[in-house]
Symmetry: C2
Amino acid sequence: MPVDDTCPVCRTADIICAKWTLLLIRDLAEGRSRFCELERSLQGISPRTLSLRLRALEEEGIVERHTFPEVPPRVEYALTAKGRALLPIVDDMRTYGERWLGAECATGDEQPVAVVAA
Amino acid sequence: MPVDDTCPVCRTADIICAKWTLLLIRDLAEGRSRFCELERSLQGISPRTLSLRLRALEEEGIVERHTFPEVPPRVEYALTAKGRALLPIVDDMRTYGERWLGAECATGDEQPVAVVAA
DNA sequence: CAGCATCCGCCGTGATACTG
DNA sequence: CAGTATCACGGCGGATGCTG
């Protein structure tokens, strides 16, 4: 069900549209790096799902995993350049959400502020 | 399972992350407006899903529906201002897809071009 | 042409329990 | 702490058939 593999928009969507993924990237960008830390921050996520997301993003080269051979074991995750390159999208989505999905603006024919968008 | 309703990023994601939605918005932006036209363009979509998407976007105020009382019936869809405000996000996703998901750039530590991002 | 109704299969997600 | 294994469920999306 690839929808359209040749479409760059879809390829990007395939990566970031899974549940929790955007939040995860946001938290990673904000400096959260350890498994339990992310687990707490993304309240409600199951360890299984968090693990799946982290693994998938790692395989995409969006997240880097650093293991420290200590006891107790410590693992830290961080965004790669490819991961940080997603942040403008996240920011745009935040801006859109704030402008158009803030409260009761569902009519669509009034623009709350300016829609200049450089 | 609202993940986080208070997060504008998530509210935006809830809208555009459904399957076909991004393609649909893109096609609408490119001028395609009739049901059968969209159905052909989004090859593989079922009329049910297209209808669901269109309705959902209409309820969000992202798409406007114009009915023409003719025989055979004609209906045209178009993006509202709120819908057009999504295009920067789509563009960013396209840009990201082209830069980072083009072919074999999954390592994440080489940036294909510049990552300036205004 | 532009849909809606129904049925069904799939898989993404969550819950829980266990391991190194 | 940092996960994995297993199970079960819910809902999305597809297929088909019919209507105005």
